[in-house]
Symmetry: C2
C-alpha cells in the first residue's frame, strides 16, 4: 500500500509499504477515504518535536472497514467509520469516565506503524475506537465534516468544555487555526452569548464570524488582553479556549479570563509555564489535555449528520495522498487553515 512517511524535518515522502493487516483479534483494518494534516503534525514537520524517521504519520481519518479480527463485535466489514485520533478499549475506568485518551490499554495513531496518511490503517481495539456513520451516499461536504470529528472539531469542543463554559457566557478563543475555529463553532453550538476570536488573518476572521464569533480582536499579547478587557467591562471573559500551545497564547488566555474562571487548553504545550501566583490572585484555573474525541463523537456526529454544524469548512486546501507533502507545506506556510488529503473512494 501507499503511505506517507516521515524522513525528517520538511521531508515527507510517499512510499510503498506492506499492507496493514490484523495482528490482534480485536483489530480492524480500515481502508482510508479521507485523511488530513493536524496543526500538531507541524511540530515534527518543523523539527520542533521528534518523530521517528521512516515511520508513518497522520492521525485523522475516515474510511471503510475492510477486515475485522475474530473478537470484534460491534464493527462490521463495510462500515463507514470515523476514527478518533486515539484508540481505546471503551471499557476501562478512564474510558468509562469519558477520558479515552487516558485509556489503560490505548494509544494514538500517527506513529509506531499506525500512520493514518496511508491507504490502510490497522485500528487496535476496534469496538471501543471506531464509530460507524449511519446512512450512505454522503456528500463531499458531509465527508469533510465527518473527518473533522476525528480530531479537530472534538478538540475545539474539548477546549470549551475544559473551560467550563456555560450557556450565555462570553467566551474568548485564542488561536485562529482549525482548532481555534472549531472552538468558536463549539462555543456557539453550546450556547455562548458572545464569542471573541483572536485573529489577524482576514480569511480566518471571516470563517470565525461564520462559525459564530461576535467579535474579532486583531491585537496580540498584552495589547490583545487590553482589548478584550476593554470589551468586557474591564473584567474579562467568562471562559477562555487556548488553542495554540505556546507560552504566549497561554499567557493571553489567562490574561483575558475573568476572576474565578477557567482556561481550557488543548494546544500541545511547548515551553508553557503557568504563573501560579497570577492564578491564585484571581482564582483562575487551567485544564489542559488532548481531547477525548471518542467521548464527544456521538453528539457531534448527530449534529453533523443533521446539518446543524458544518465543521468541514475548516478545510481550505486539498490534495491527494501522492502530494501529501504539499498539504504539510501549505499549512506550514499558513497558506492553508487545514489540509485535506484524498486517499480512497467511498465505495
Amino acid at each position: 500500500m501507499r503511505a506517507a512517511i516521515y524522513e525528517g524535518p520538511r521531508d515527507i515522502r510517499v512510499a510503498d509499504v506492506p499492507d496493514h493487516v490484523i495482528t490482534e483479534p480485536t483489530d480492524a483494518v480500515v481502508r482510508v477515504v479521507l485523511a488530513c494534516v493536524c496543526g500538531s503534525d507541524l511540530w515534527y514537520y518543523r523539527g520542533e518535536s521528534r518523530h521517528r524517521a521512516g515511520d508513518g504519520i497522520g492521525h485523522e481519518f475516515v474510511g471503510i472497514v475492510e477486515q475485522i479480527g475474530p473478537d470484534v463485535r460491534t464493527i462490521r466489514q463495510g462500515d463507514f467509520v470515523v476514527a478518533p485520533f486515539a484508540y481505546s478499549d471503551g471499557t476501562c475506568l478512564n474510558c468509562l469516565a469519558g477520558f479515552q485518551t487516558s485509556c489503560l490499554h490505548g494509544g494514538v495513531f500517527g506513529g509506531n506503524g499506525l500512520g493514518a496518511q496511508a491507504e490502510k490503517v490497522r485500528v487496535p481495539l476496534a469496538d471501543g475506537t471506531l464509530v460507524p456513520v449511519p446512512g450512505s451516499g454522503h456528500s463531499a461536504a458531509m465527508l469533510r465534516s465527518l473527518l473533522t470529528l476525528s480530531d479537530v472539531m472534538g478538540t475545539g469542543h474539548h477546549a470549551v468544555v475544559s473551560a467550563s463554559m456555560r450557556p450565555g457566557d462570553t467566551v474568548g478563543v485564542v488561536g485562529d487555526g482549525a482548532v481555534g475555529l472549531s472552538a468558536v463553532l463549539a462555543a456557539k453550538r453550546l450556547g455562548a452569548g458572545r464569542i471573541i476570536a483572536l485573529s489577524r488573518h482576514p480569511a480566518r476572521q471571516a470563517l470565525a464570524r461564520e462559525f459564530g464569533a461576535t467579535d474579532i480582536v486583531e491585537e496580540r499579547g498584552d495589547a490583545a488582553i487590553e482589548a478584550v478587557l476593554a470589551m468586557t467591562h474591564g473584567i474579562g471573559v467568562d471562559a477562555a479556549a487556548e488553542c495554540v500551545g505556546t507560552n504566549e497564547s497561554m499567557g493571553t488566555a489567562l490574561g483575558i479570563v475573568r476572576a474565578g474562571s477557567m482556561v481550557g487548553s488543548v494546544g500541545v504545550p511547548h515551553g508553557v509555564e503557568i504563573p501560579v501566583g497570577a492564578l491564585f490572585s484571581k482564582n483562575k484555573g487551567v485544564k489542559c489535555g488532548a481531547a477525548p474525541v471518542r467521548a464527544y463523537l456521538p453528539e457531534l456526529l448527530a449534529d453533523v449528520l443533521a446539518g446543524r454544524i458544518d465543521p468541514g469548512r475548516v478545510f481550505d486546501f486539498e490534495t491527494d495522498l501522492e502530494h501529501v507533502a504539499d498539504a504539510y507545506a501549505a499549512m506550514d506556510e499558513r497558506r492553508a487553515i487545514k489540509s485535506l488529503v484524498r486517499v480512497g473512494r467511498t465505495a
Copy 2:
C-alpha cells in the same frame, strides 16, 4: 485599644494603639469577640513572607458592631457579625459572580492598619462584607464554629468546590492543617462518597475521621501517591483538595487525581511549579485562589446554626489577646491545629 502587632519574625507583641474609628461613610467598627491565627499567618511569622513591622495582624474575627458610618444600610449597631477575611462591596461584577476576593473595591484584613487580632476592627464596605448572625446566646462551641466561617471553613469548602467535586466522588485531601480538615468536612457535607485524608499526625487523623474521612494515608510524596493509587484501582481520586501551598503538596495532589479531574488549591503558593506536560498528558486541571468566603457564608452559616456541621472543632488551643504570641507559637511548633484568641465579651 489593645492590638497584636508584628515586629518581626517570631516577634508578636500586644500594644496600645489608637481605637479604630469610622473613616469612610460605608465603614463599620466591630468590637472583636473572637479572633484566631491562620496557617497563612505563619508565613510571615516564620519570616518566609513579608509583613510590615509595626502593623496589625490577623484577618479572622467575629464580633459586635459598635458603630456604623452614615451610608451603611443593612448592618446595625449591636449586630453580632461574622467578617470574611476579605472586605468587598458586594455589588461589582466580580462580587456578583461570587468572587468577592476579586472585588474591584475590596481588600483584605490582616495588614495596612486592619489587623483583626485586636479589640476593634474597622470594616470597610460594611454592607457588602459583614454577615449578621441571627439569634443570641450562642454557646461557646457555636461561637467557635461561627468564627471558622471567617476563613478556614470557607477555604476548605472552596478547595472542594474548585476541585469540581460531585456527590459520590472519591476525594483526596492533601494537608492536615485546619484548612485540610475543613476540606474533609466540606467534602462530607457536599456528599463525597469516599474521603482520603493525607495525615501522619494522630490527633489530626482522629479529627479527620470525625469530620468524615473514610481513609487515612500516612505516607508522603511519591509514596503517598502510590498509596492513594493503590486504593483507587490504580486510577486516582475524582477530585483533590490541595490545602498546603508547597510544591510538594501540589505535586502530590496532581499525582493522586485521576485523568480528567481537577485539583482545587487554596494553599497560598510558595515555590509551586505546575508541570504543564503532566497535566496535558492526563487532562488534569488546577484551579487555585483565596476563597471567596463571603459567597459561601450564607449556606455554611445555615448549616452551622442548625448544628449540621461543627467546624469549630479545629480549634485545639486557646488563649487571650494578651497572650496572642503563644497562639502563634503553638501553631508554628505544630502543638496546635488552630489557635483561638479570646478578645472580648459577647454582650
